[in-house]
């Protein structure tokens, strides 16, 4: 089975409002899949449903090929960072992580080793014996993220993992997640599309309680005829430059120009025609395709 997680037609209603309205998504094994959508789109409700916290009105969940979530079956194989959930204030970082490890079936030694590894990985060594109450918001977040990776689970779901982290710690977490790409299946929900773009191999656009589009990141960001050129100096007349390559429309952006063209033209052909004209303005970078944010805003949100 190539999917770590499959949900089909999940429906969850709160009164008349459908938080999930036929949410179907297959998460490929070993992928890092990003969920993108507006507030209230259903991302968190879907995660909570997969984790068994929310009972769906209808639909199917198949988690790691063993049916809907059941702690007796999935404990230790599946983990989650729930959004807006507080760790027990009185717990001390290391003992809490060891305790969670023991609860999911790790031996005392394995739980200690796993906890120590994660404490080091998340730069919490000097806080290992501090109580959760004494930690800053960002540190608590790191402990909460760390607990998801105890015992190396096969599937991890992270709801807004980077929010509240300082730039250094956010980068550390991104590196940690990237190092697991291919080994651990990870689902990330975030409003930070730059982060999703940096971390994910697959992206699902979610709206109104269902998945509107699910693609690989590459397919989402490079399927449009678009090249962004970052330039040191402002170019002169864009029409003169565009004349070098019929079928290309050039527009000026804050740090350069963007060329948009139909699928009949290749990236290579457009570059070959435009770059010689743009070199005199100091070409700093050439970015074919579009960013995830552009893809989301252009194709989906507007």
């Amino acid at each position: 089975m190539n999917e770590a997680l499959v949900t089909r037609g999940l429906v969850k209603r709160y009164g008349r409002h459908a938080a999930l309205d036929g949410f179907s998504l297959s998460v490929p094994r070993g992928s890092v899949t990003g969920l993108v959508g507006r507030n209230g789109a259903g991302k968190t409700t879907w995660m909570m449903t997969v984790a068994g916290f929310v009972r769906p009105n209808s639909g199917e969940v198949n988690l790691l090929g063993r049916g809907a979530f059941d702690a007796a079956v999935h404990s230790g194989r599946f983990a989650m960072l729930p959004q807006d959930s507080d760790l027990p204030n009185e717990g001390r970082v290391r003992s809490l992580l060891v305790g969670y490890g023991r609860l999911q079936g790790l031996s005392g030694k394995a739980a200690c080793e796993s906890a120590d590894r994660l404490i080091a990985a998340f730069n919490l060594s000097d806080k290992a014996n501090s109580s959760v109450r004494a930690l800053s918001h960002g540190m608590r977040k790191r402990v909460a993220v760390a607990q998801t990776f105890l015992g190396e689970p096969e599937l991890v779901m992270l709801d807004e993992p980077l929010s509240g982290l300082d730039p250094v710690e956010a980068d550390r977490l991104r590196t940690f997640i990237l190092a697991r790409r291919g080994r651990t299946t990870i689902v990330v929900s975030s409003h930070q599309l730059d982060d999703i773009e940096r971390l994910c191999t697959h992206v699902a656009f979610v709206a109104d309680g269902r998945v509107e589009r699910m693609e690989t990141l590459r397919a989402l960001t490079s399927d449009a005829g678009r090249i962004a050129y970052a330039l040191r100096a402002r170019p002169g007349e864009l029409a003169d430059i565009a004349a070098a390559c019929p079928g290309v429309r050039l527009s000026e952006e804050a740090d350069g120009v963007v060329a948009e063209f139909s699928s009949e033209l290749s990236v290579e052909a457009v570059n070959a025609a435009l770059l010689p004209r743009l070199l005199e303005f100091g070409v700093l970078s050439v970015q074919p395709g579009r960013s995830l944010a552009d893809a989301y805003l252009d194709d989906f949100a507007k």
């Binding site: 909570m48 984790a51 068994g52 916290f53 929310v54 009972r55 059941d70 702690a71 007796a72 404990s75 230790g76 599946f78 983990a79 989650m80 729930p82 807006d84 959930s85 507080d86 760790l87 027990p88 009185e90 717990g91 001390r92 003992s95 305790g99 969670y100 023991r102 609860l103 999911q104 909460a144 607990q147």
Partner: protein
């Protein structure tokens, strides 16, 4: 899960504070009642022309049972002739401890446990655990963890009360008081299991700790009043039918724990456990059908 819960409960200042308050109450209660007992003894010693030891009580504790006022007090407190027959002749300090522990245990159990589930659910802390254990394991673990906590508190209370008794009382029977008090603590622990079940069952139903606490304390009051109300209307047709409801109230089974012979005590203990498990199961059943948001 029980060990995790016990460790978590011990880390919370609330549980420690409650056990500490219980300890203070048992020490203070034992000390105060020994003072009262001493005064009664002195009066009785005067009447019987028996000598008392300077500054200590307990020399005439056996003779105290011959005092009609003391017998009347004991009988009215016990309220049941079978129980009265079982406790006649026992050391008054032992009985005072037993009375005190039976009085405190419902409050101790309710206050220590009624927020344990609701608080974890409302803060979201429950989610970190429920990803690792089933809801049934969680419920049972909470019950076992809390019951060990209460038992530890009761044993500590017995030790503390015995120390006060040993310090304040004289007589050869003081060493024998310790196992007797510990036995009463164990009996009270069975009573606590019923109240724990009530408190944790209610806690499973609530979305906030404050609501769970209010509801649990409300039930504590209701359970204290209801058997008396049922007794009042026992002669009516409806009242007679409703008498069966008494079996759901932990306080009704308390008398069995006062008995000396193991049969009634075991029956009472089993019934109290059943009451606790019934309330716990009720809460758990609702909880399994509930979203944890």
């Amino acid at each position: 899960m029980a060990r995790f819960e016990l460790a978590a409960a011990l880390r919370t200042k609330r549980a420690i504070a409650l056990v500490a308050i219980y300890l203070v109450v048992s020490l203070f209660g034992m000390n105060s009642t020994i003072t009262v007992l001493g005064k009664m003894e002195d009066q009785l010693a005067g009447i019987l022309h028996v000598e008392t030891v300077e500054g200590k009580s307990g020399v005439v504790s056996a003779a105290l049972w011959k005092s009609r006022p003391f017998q009347k007090i004991a009988h009215s407190v016990v309220g049941d002739s079978l129980v009265y027959d079982d406790i006649v002749g026992r050391h008054p300090a032992e009985l005072i401890y037993a009375w005190m522990v039976f009085l405190c245990v419902p409050f101790l159990s309710i206050l220590a446990s009624c927020r344990r589930v609701a608080d974890d659910v409302s803060s979201g802390a429950a989610k970190f655990v429920l990803l690792r254990v089933t809801r049934l394991q969680w419920t049972v673990g909470k019950f076992l963890g809390q019951s060990f906590l209460i038992l530890s508190g009761l044993i500590l209370g017995a030790l503390g009360a015995w120390c006060v008794a040993a310090f304040r009382l004289s007589g050869a029977d003081i060493p024998a008081l310790l196992p007797a008090m510990i036995l009463w603590s164990f009996k009270a622990w069975f009573l606590s299991l019923a109240w724990l079940g009530v408190a944790l069952g209610i806690s499973h139903l609530s979305t906030s700790g404050s609501k769970a606490q209010t509801l649990s304390l409300g039930l504590l009051v209701a359970f204290a009043i209801a058997p008396r109300v049922l007794k009042l209307y026992a002669d009516t047709v409806v009242g007679a039918k409703l008498q069966v409801l008494k079996m759901l109230f932990p306080s009704v089974m308390e008398d069995a724990l006062w008995r000396a012979s193991p049969g009634p005590v075991a029956a009472g203990a089993v019934w109290l456990l059943a009451i606790g498990l019934m309330w716990l199961s009720f809460g758990h059943l609702i909880f399994t059908r509930r979203d944890v948001r």
